[in-house]
Assembly symmetry: D3
């Protein structure tokens, strides 16, 4: 039987990833300390591993496909195909940024000032490449973690991944530059990408994942409208997708249904009321395939 | 730009409050140790603080609007407008009561018996006011917490907030009177209330919050009914809101939709089956704006 | 007033059971250390107890009805009526199995090899009965827990409940036989079963519980279809339940609704797209009463 | 090589037991989930198990010697030799009592009132034996735990182990009788007891354990005394053990050393000061072998 | 029987206080949620309460004696006798300071700059009194906690208790003044102080507590010295307390014992070696009564 | 002022290290998330960092002296002076071993079988060097942790640090070779080692640390002996260190004191009793400087 080997990131992206997969229709069960979780699709074999390692294992064809961050794809410079950029931001996960930071009272204020300085980071390659582009010579060395406490004794600056900047701030560090912004990606190696069965399997998975992510940003509204108000109500609803209209038992009334952006509902609902809509109901959805 | 300053209660009401706001369409993110959470509405600025302090800060116009309990509005005697009473009870939060309690074996059995006694409480003003109304003289003193272990050595009675009475019971205390029953309220100061922009902003927020709370008590039922049974089925459904009826592909059948009280579903479903309804589906909702 | 006494299992089944009841429409609140939880149905009285004890208490008519595992019904050999087998597997709870296990390096490879050996177990009766059926004489003794660390010093084999086999594996044990497979059941004693009021009350509860469990395995799909594609789309949808069709505001389009197996959605959605369906939406449900 | 198999109790007695052994000179290391801890004495092999099971395994010669409570020796009626009663009370562990308890509002007030009643307990045999001695007929049945929540629905009374009575009180139960008082014991089976090597090994271990327990109740005091005050000071010190006296560099002074009860130090120190002792020092000890 | 009512502080001082009492010879056992702990001295009755409330209850003679911080004695202005200042600093508890703090970027730099400003604090009285002494008018209002996040929106400055200043720093606040430095104190009301039995009881308790605290700062050194080196060694040892000298079995050697400051041992040991001391042993002590 | 920069290992060695330093007389306080702990010696500046990084920072003279494991000194091949090997084993910390391990069912049984295989490890250099010595060619690649779950899919063998081997066993891995055994060491760079002040400072610190470690393995025994038994008792005591003998108040008795190995006390005490020693007391010590 054909099998697709899928690498998923352990750690900070793990829970959100599993929930998105579940909404997309894939149940993944992780046992205690198990790195080979069970997925309810016989054609897929899952491995849970550090996001750092996924690009390499995809490139080396140990895995067909992986979900990891742009940061580690960049750092490993792995020769892989990026299929899609998954937008997790609605789930409270902002993009991660790789930034250069220095002590608040440092005299370093720009990339140029790093000339000849010592930089500690977990992403040595990305940092070196960036400095090279900028024409700056500096000593970049690998840090095993707790990087933000290294300056000023052990380093002059650091290159560190950060979501909110809070940990940098707490360590009295100031951001001077953003090297890259990273979001989750689906990657394949070129061999698997060329295999029609694997390609189709991944494409469908991507369709379902994006449908699940889209559904988190929208809701279904359903309301009763007297036929005399129908035009005014229809006008308020998004043009792209045609609203569904059905007759109510009471003659002059129709039921109108429409999918709208969740964040517009806050103002839309009141406008709909003013336009004559009644009994407005809002429903959650699992997936939207446009 | 206009800004609305909103105070939300930290502590026991916090999680429920944030979830209701989320269902109402406002995403609020709290960072570690942060008292100034992020809300995804640029016109609102949030502050998280003790429920006790919200009435005062609203009154003093540091905040425009706040969510706090009736207990602390009463205790602080703050001069504020109460806009609405939010019913959290469906979420497992019963109203809090301020009660007078005495040791199980005390000879005190009514408010009158408190004449000349020592009462420990966190709500000194509410307790004093209540006793004064009843014409009882007693020494009411402020307690910093662990009030329920004060009797009999350090106090003769206590006035304590309680939801279930369990902690009082565990400390061998008996309730002799209820001073007040408290539920969450939205309050504004009179100046902000008089500002049309702020007033409209708060009114919409209240509409959405109440819609979210209402949706927790109702579900949408959808069922297939043969046209010969339609009248019997319609009769069982709530009269107020008109059910939606649409035709099925099979000629003699229609689909009927109706919103009903969740707690009536237990009996209604079986009655609907007996009346000829088939394939009954129950859907959750996010919001209901009647 | 008529009262139904209902026993629910504390421990590993507890949270899942309470959630299923909630979806079925029964809110059950458990206070700290309370074994008599509150249920929002005045005609029911709940007791929370060890699954082991429920069969006996139902048999002895202390309880009218109970939810417990087949394992303990078997072990206690209680004379009760089994009403239904609740399928919790969609919720990540696989059936529990009672297995015979021996150390990896043991010479015991089958039930027959247990002749004359020492077996430690928490389910003495089930184990003895099984061995007797197989014609094997062995010494079966009760173990208070931590059974899997008993071999080889304290026992030659164990009979142990296991869901995943992980704990056995971690203790270097190998499964040689499965004695029984257990799933949750609703049981009544014969007297309560003969009481028409109690019987009807339980039947309705079972209908609602099964409706809630069924809803976890299905979703509602809703899509727009041009009338020229309608036949191809309808053909893809499950035959049993008639899809609902309603007209859209745009002339040539209809909206089609259908309930489908969640695990088929993964492939169905793409087939529907290919057949001309657009704007496919997927909705969760609370209950399905077929 | 000769080996002594020693069973130690997991659970509530575990930490205290390991600490006493450590003070007695035996270091015992417990790995995660390990039931065969390492002891730094090659002639001893340790097993950690439920206190309930130790008497049986000692009796059956799986173990030579065990440390368990009198409660479980009594319950299992195991045929073992009790070597010593270890007094853990200085370590904050009060003796455990097996008591009969009834609901606060029960009409049962004495053992006699239990005639014909239902009693739930984890110690069926001890309870039955006690009732038989008292000439009372009652139905005693085994409870899997959470026994204190069984009355009044599931039992009329319970027989329960308790240290402080707090849990009974919290469940509104009242103690009517004490069946037995239990302290930790060292037990051997008769065969091992008859083996001179094992007997001597255990006797030495008991000597060291008792020395460690004794040292927890005493301290060494050391003080300087002018020779003119020596008699008054000596008189205050315990007569049994001779105080040590040595000369100080300053002619007329001597140093006096004595071992005293820790709980008498509170008053003794001041009396010693008044008698002329100076520079009183108090030292902790590991062991005392009288 | 005479009884001494003793109030001990719950919360941050609790564990250290109980340990000091234990070293002083008083075992205090605290049950779950119990505010009336058990003390192994029949003449003492303990109450555990908030440090804030102890001065008041001592003043009102509900308690005879209490242990609380200078901060709350000052805040409540209670009319009590301070008996002693307990130095907990060796146990890692630095004195608590009440400080005035402002945002890092505030223009307020001294007490004088607070004229007309808003100050939030839990210690309203101490803060007001201090400002009055300095001739500054400011609005001081009570804060229920989380005071350090109040500026700049809800206050211009705060008066806050701090041990290390870390929490202030993390909230971007800067200390501008120290209002008071607080250490733990033993206090009595004047009536109890005048009662000879109570007075003597407390004096002895204070002697033992100070003995226990003193012992934490010192160690006993014991060493062997050849008689030819004795003078050089003796010279190095503290003059105040006479060292003990005893003869060893080997003719020319003596054993010397002396109590020294623990923090001087680091350098003293090497000097003693150089002076000819051999086999230097260091012993811990429980108590020192000078 | 002269300053000594000292690197201490965060993580698994941290707590033990701080406790040994405390016993040696250095109090080190670690704040939350602080990597620059406070030490109560003004001439020392502490840094807490990963054990992996300490050798490099000492070599590069960022630190004068560091405490780290032999494993990481070896891995980094840092050019540093090893001053002493600290024996932590009495504190329950066994030496760490770097081992080669393969799946239980692998066909690899020796280093030679690794020819051409893939090895995952956190200690790439040590592993490569070892393989080179053995003349084996294999692909050694860096693993980010969770190394033990890599075989067989992601690696054929691993080189992993292990104390007890438990984690390897739990992952069904079998040790085939030990590459090195590692214990904690004190290291200095050659420049600091050549500085007389720093050298003396470190030598004293080492003396105190070793004194503290030695004291954990020994105890002081003190006993009363009748002069007629003195010779027999003295004979039992260790010859190296001369016992102290002093006269008791009772004429014919002397007090004998001696320092002995703690692990010999178990048998020695009984022999001393048989030889006529009475009232044997055992005391703990903080430090021993021989």
């Amino acid at each position: 039987m054909n099998k697709l080997k899928l690498g998923l990131p352990a750690g900070s992206l793990q829970n959100t990833t599993l929930e998105i997969f579940r909404k997309a229709g894939f149940n993944i069960q992780i046992g205690d300390r198990s790195y080979y979780p069970y997925i309810d699709d016989e054609e897929i074999e899952c491995v849970l591993m550090r996001a750092q390692e996924i690009p390499r294992y995809v490139e080396e064809q140990v895995l067909d496909v992986g979900l990891t961050g742009k940061d580690w794809i960049n750092e490993t410079a792995a020769d892989v195909k990026e299929l899609t950029d998954l937008n997790y931001s609605k789930r409270g996960l902002r993009p991660v940024r790789l930034v250069l930071a220095v002590p608040n009272d440092s005299e370093i204020n720009s990339v140029e000032d790093l000339e000849g300085k010592r930089i500690a980071t977990e992403l040595v390659e990305s940092t070196r490449r960036y400095l090279k582009e900028k024409g700056v010579n500096a000593s970049v060395s690998f840090s095993w973690g707790a990087t933000e406490v290294k300056p000023p004794l052990l380093a002059d600056a650091i290159a560190e991944l950060t979501e909110t900047g809070r940990s940098l701030k707490a360590n009295q560090l100031r951001i001077i530059e953003t090297i890259l912004v990273s979001t989750p990606r689906i990657i394949m190696n070129r061999t698997s990408y060329g295999d029609p069965w694997k390609r189709k399997k991944v494409d469908r998975m991507v369709t379902l994942l994006k449908g699940a992510l889209l559904a988190e940003q929208k809701v279904m509204l359903k309301m009763n409208v007297h036929s005399s108000n129908l035009d005014r109500v229809i006008e308020l609803l998004p043009a792209l997708r045609k609203p569904t209209i059905s007759n109510l038992i009471a003659d002059e009334w129709v039921a109108v249904e429409s999918v709208v952006e969740e964040k517009k509902v806050r103002t839309l609902i009141c406008e709909l009321q003013e336009a004559g809509a009644e009994g407005i109901l809002e429903f959650p959805m699992n997936k939207i395939i446009p």
